[in-house]
Amino acid sequence: MKLIRYEYPQSPTASAFNRLFDLGGSSFDRFGSLLDDFFAGTSGFTQPAADLYEDEHNYYARFELPGLKKDDIDLELENSVLTISSVNVEKSEESESRASFQRSISVPDGVELDSVSAELKDGVLTVTLPKAEARKPRQISVK
């Protein structure tokens, strides 16, 4: 089987970005992508789609996880790899089971690993990865 990574047309900086973030794994089977079906994963192990941003102070990783509670989500940071995962969510009242998912993202160099934070709001998880002081752009005045 041949796997081809799909590059989204609206990401002009994708190539630059790939040097920063190793996206880990192939890009098939991600829910939230164009094949937009949360329940589609027959493998039982899907990868959630992610958006990645940066600003002056932080990197941001965003995931859409509708219906998940914060207790359902496992976030782990180990050896500069951020792993988000969730196991089966089963509701008894109407026999609902949801596929597990996992996704790992290599955290770029120069992130303050101790002050990484995450917020889940309205089904959107935002992980904030603060840049270390040395990585922030600095104005240098010419003498």
């Binding site: 989204y8 996206l23 992508s33 990197y59 509708p66 309205d122």
Partner: protein, 130 residues
């Protein structure tokens, strides 16, 4: 079974196309289940809170519009985008009579749960998210 199914309106795509320039629409993932008394519609609207959901019924069309609570801050430079943009819109054609006085809607964690009790009559009505 065949006459008690909720059908997706075929006009969703064309209506979305008309508005495409003004506003980007995204068709949400949804799921319909049925029990003895009601249809349960579950729509995934990540990023949308209670205030952002607008539900209306006009004749046979159930229309759900979800507007995101917060836009991505402008200072954020995208490094990689995988998630589709835009707000949500879904139109479902109700070919079953629904008791629209007793429709219940709940939004939690980016998921809208709608309960449409089965009934005999159908009339236009606006439903507020409770």
């Amino acid at each position: 079974m065949s006459n008690t199914e909720l059908q997706t309106s075929g006009s969703t795509e064309t209506a979305a196309a008309k508005n495409a320039q003004a506003r980007a629409w995204r068709r949400p993932v949804y799921d319909v289940s049925e029990n003895e008394n009601a249809f349960n519609v579950r729509v995934h609207l990540p990023g949308v809170n209670r205030e952002g959901v607008d539900i209306s019924i006009e004749e046979e069309t159930l229309r759900i519009v979800g507007t995101r609570a917060a836009a991505t801050p402008e200072a954020w430079r995208p490094l990689r985008r995988e998630l589709p943009d835009g707000d949500y819109r879904l139109e479902l054609r109700l070919n079953v009579a629904v008791n629209d006085a007793k429709i219940k809607a709940k939004v939690e964690d980016g998921v809208l749960d709608l309960v449409l009790p089965k009934a005999d009559e159908v009339k236009p009505r606006k439903i507020k998210v409770s």
